[in-house]
Each structure stands twice: as C-alpha cells, then as structure tokens.
Symmetry: C2
Subunit: 133 residues, 2 copies
C-alpha cells in the first residue's frame, strides 16, 4: 500500500468535510441565529409592533450599541425584519417584523412553551446530579 494520506490527514479531512456540511446545514444556521442571546430578545420586542432604534435599546436593557446594531443587521439581512429610514432632523429609523420574522417567532414561542413546561424537572435533575458530585 502506498497511501496518499496519513491516518491523521484522513481524520483531518473528515473533520473538514463535516465542517463544510454544517456550514451549509439549514438547521445549524437557524440554531446559530436563535441561539444568539440578543436575536430572540429583538424578535420578542418587535413582536408587539415596530420600534425605533433607541426604543429597542431601552427595552433590551443589557445590550450594547454594537451588539444591537449587529443583531439588527443580521435580522434584516435574513429578511426577518425590515428597516425604514425617515429622513428628518434628527433622522428616525424604525424596525419591524416581516411575515417571515413572525413565522420564525412562532417557532421561538413553541420553544418558550416547552422550556416553561419542562424547566422544573430539568432543574430538579440538575440539583440531583450536582448533589451526587
């Protein structure tokens, strides 16, 4: 045998292939989005109606300008929210959910319901696990 790859190289290739697969996996991309701390909070805030940038910043108390802007850009890029600029002085920018965003928010709500229904038993499991160690 004259292998073209060492065992280590084969393992490396397998990981690279797996990474490439994950990078284009729809579920993974979605989980990356909603796993992001601020994304779901922005969606929740906008679920009740449009808000200005400063209103969002106030409502989501813990967010920095940088992360809020970044989150809004990502959501806009994915078509989950829309951004409207009113050229006044000073300038006014409103954000609002799109139909796609509302559809995603429905999924997030299901997740929220599952969490609230089951967090009690999960906490109990944690306590028991921790007390054993």
């Amino acid at each position: 045998m004259s292998p073209t790859m060492t065992t280590a190289q084969q393992r490396q290739k397998a990981k690279d292939d797996y990474d490439a697969f994950l990078a284009t996996c729809p579920s993974r991309q979605l989980l990356d989005r909603i796993g992001d701390k601020w994304i779901t909070l922005v969606l929740s805030a906008l679920a009740d109606g449009p808000l200005r940038y400063s209103e969002l910043a106030r409502q989501i108390a813990g967010v920095s300008q940088k992360m809020l802007t970044q989150s809004l850009r990502n959501l806009e890029r994915d078509g989950l929210i829309s951004r409207t600029v009113t050229a006044s002085v000073p300038v006014r920018v409103d954000y609002q959910m799109t139909a796609l965003g509302l559809s995603l928010f429905g999924i997030v709500l299901q997740l929220k319901q599952w969490a609230e229904r089951n967090m009690g038993v999960i906490i109990a499991h944690r306590d028991e696990f921790d007390s054993r160690n």
Copy 2:
C-alpha cells in the same frame, strides 16, 4: 435632589438586573443549550438508539473529546440523556435518550423543518442584501 446613584450607576444596575433575569429565564437556558453546536448533534445521534462513547465520537466527526464529554455531561445533568457504565475490562459506557430528551428532540425537529422550509427565501434575502452593499 440627592441621588444615591449616578446616571451611569443606574444604567449599570439596570443591566445587572436584566442579566440576572436572563440567567434564570427558562427560554434563555433552553436556547443556550440547543444553540450549542454539539448538543443537537448528540441528540440526533442518540435519537436512533443508545451509543457508546467511541461510537458517538466517530459518528460526530468534527467533535473533540473535550467538547463531546462536556456536551454529554450537560445533557446528563439536565436529565436529557442517561449514562450507563458497564464495569468490564476495558470499561464500557453507553448513552441513551430519556423520555425528556426525546420530547426536546421533537422541538428540535420542528425547528429543523422550519429551517428547511424557509432557508431558501432567507438565502435569497441575504444575496439581495449583500448585492446592495
């Protein structure tokens, strides 16, 4: 007025309060879990039946020992999977889903379905957004 806090301190307190709220928020804790790259992959792997540690490591090609072990511990701690040690030589360890884990996996599947149904239009939005900038 003789305020006991400066404006900056009040802002800081608001953020601390918000952080404390998020730390105990069930939805946030759940999103932190399933947003983790390897958690969903472990759940998917175990959905078809129990697997040994080494089998999991092989099936999830990209994972390091450290992250696999960490993910398994977290899942076990939450009561989503169970761990069974067979004291032979060498030792054998099997992991399998609990009923709670299967229940959570159902939610993950819903997410997966949403992702697959809507990723096309999201990609289209991204392309259009990027071409404008």
